[in-house]
């Protein structure tokens, strides 16, 4: 009994850690978005307007979608899957941003709408996926309705703390040490790896419980 309690605690800490990582990734990418758009759309105030609008909008959809997704057989495996998808959907920022922005730059003269369309094309989908992780984490952590507020509070705390740290680390240091593409690929890799680890852990966990249950049955 004691070991299973400990296991649950560890898995809780692990989920909080994952929520921290998703918060970190969101702001790291948002900060880089300004640098990615600047060569084509400049660094006028409306560029940040476009970026923040797209990130807020996609996060709001992500929360809605993640909540909905968590109502059908929520599991650590599916949670890990979201991380892998988030990592993969970040990759077009590296591979396709130049020709995408070139096309938009040619098609739209007004840099306000150009930057809005470009940031939608590049960041809308990965940010939705990253936004799904918060409500899904709440679903995995909450065991009874009494503690739901406290769990949600802790989760907001951890993921927003991740966002704050992601912002400062990226803007103060990462851009001075690495190319933008290197940072984006690293974030993508970390998210995908964490997803894979999560899935492996969840499989190991279920087989552990299965084995334990079988042992209990055979003992009985």
């Amino acid at each position: 009994m004691q070991t299973s309690n400990k296991l649950i605690n560890f898995s809780h800490i692990y989920i909080y850690f994952l929520a921290f990582t998703s918060g970190f990734s969101i702001m790291c990418i948002e900060l880089l978005a300004g640098r990615i758009l600047a060569p084509f759309f400049g660094s006028s105030v409306h560029i940040w307007g476009s970026i923040i609008t797209v990130f807020m909008l996609s996060l709001s959809f992500g929360y809605l979608l993640g909540g909905k997704f968590s109502t059908h057989s929520a599991s650590l495996t599916r949670y890990g899957l979201i991380f892998i998808v988030a990592g993969i959907t970040l990759l077009p920022i590296v591979t396709s941003s130049t020709w995408l922005m070139e096309g938009i730059f040619l098609a739209i003269e007004d840099s306000r709408y150009g930057s809005l369309l470009a940031s939608t094309a590049l960041f809308f989908i990965p940010t939705i996926i990253l936004g799904m992780l918060s409500p899904y984490s709440v679903r995995l952590l909450v065991k009874n309705s009494n503690e739901s507020g406290q769990v949600a509070g802790k989760l907001y705390f951890v993921s927003t703390l991740g966002s704050a740290i992601g912002t400062i680390i990226t803007s103060f240091y990462l851009v001075m040490w690495f190319d933008i593409n290197t940072i984006v690929v690293s974030v993508s890799l970390v998210l995908s790896l964490l997803g894979i680890v999560t899935i492996v852990l969840s499989k190991a966990n279920t087989s552990f419980y299965k084995a334990k249950a079988q042992r209990d049955i055979s003992h009985a």
Partner: protein, 312 residues
């Protein structure tokens, strides 16, 4: 003995008095917070200045004398005119970073037949230049409220060319990082006519100095530097078709002709000593003052502002 103490203290009082009255004479006649910075217009007797940041001493100023608006007051504007010595008859000029518009006014006076395009990101700066600095616009002088990088990209698409591009968008406090990358300079290069030149007024110090220099060299090869011992800025002067064969003589680029003699005389009337400009011109082919292994800045890697504060 007693007498000399009295004299000394009197002179100290006098000096203090001069400083204090000088200070009180400076009157802020306009101040506003635009989307990008604080804008201050200050009158100090006959001198009117546009300031972007009060506290910093590295702040870029654009000043003119109300009684003699055609006189150039500040060194860096004079230094930028070195471009004219290398390319005396630019037909089409692009100025990125308007300030008070004094550069545009001066060039129009010197070259009344040339076309001048001014690009300034901040509409408030354009308004202030019009209202307080007599910034002149007509069918030859146009102003665009746009990000410099976006303007340059669009101009390249429209296959426009300029004989002289003046990049004056930097100051000691903030550098638009997307205007200091190899990609941007390549765009500038394709915007220059065959004989075209670029003069950039930059304020890089510490680590950024080497990075910036390496970036210009990577795109244009060797260039001229016009430095100013009294201030933290330097002018980078680039020729689209490279420097002349004999790099030992930066001055040999300047061909003596009637035009030049006329130009030198004209420059003198607006307070610019062309001989002094000559003297401060150094080719990087034999005066390279940064290390060869300095990395270049690109759109992927452009931490210009972080490098500029790093004092290691």
């Amino acid at each position: 003995m007693h007498n000399s103490i009295v004299k000394l203290s009197l002179s100290i009082f006098f000096l203090l008095g001069v400083f204090i009255t000088n200070d009180t004479l400076a009157k802020v006649i306009h101040s506003e917070r635009s989307l990008y910075r604080n804008i201050l217009v200050e009158d100090k007797g006959d001198l009117r200045c546009l300031k972007f940041n009060v506290k910093s001493n590295k702040t870029r100023q654009s000043c003119f004398l109300k009684s003699q608006p055609q006189q150039l007051v500040f060194n860096y504007t004079k230094q930028l005119l070195t471009g004219l010595l290398v390319n005396p008859e630019p037909k089409r000029i692009l100025i990125i970073g308007l300030g008070g518009g004094t550069m545009s006014n001066t060039l129009h006076q010197l070259l009344p037949d040339s076309y001048i395009d001014n690009v300034e990101i901040d509409q408030s700066v354009i308004n202030v230049a019009r209202q307080y600095f007599g910034f002149l616009e007509n069918d030859k002088i146009k102003t665009y409220s746009q990000d410099g990088r976006v303007f340059v990209k669009r101009a390249v698409l429209k296959k426009q060319t300029y004989d002289w591009i003046i990049l004056d968008a930097f100051n000691g406090d903030y550098i638009p990082e997307h205007l200091m990358t190899t990609e941007f300079l390549e765009e500038i290069k394709s915007l220059l006519s065959a004989q075209g030149i670029l003069t950039a007024n930059t304020f890089s110090s510490s680590k950024l100095y080497g990075y910036e220099s390496a970036t210009y060299k990577a795109v244009f090869g060797d260039f001229y530097q016009v430095s100013n011992p009294d201030s933290s800025n330097r002018i980078i002067l680039v020729r689209n078709n490279g420097l002349v064969e004999n790099p030992n003589e930066a001055q040999s680029t300047v061909k003596y002709s009637e035009n030049i003699t006329k130009l030198v005389a004209e420059l003198l009337t607006i307070g610019v000593d062309a001989k002094k400009l000559y003297k401060n011109m150094k080719s990087t082919a034999n005066h390279q003052n940064w290390s060869d292994d300095s990395p270049v800045l690109t759109d992927q890697f452009a931490p210009a502002n972080l490098l500029n504060i790093d004092t290691d």
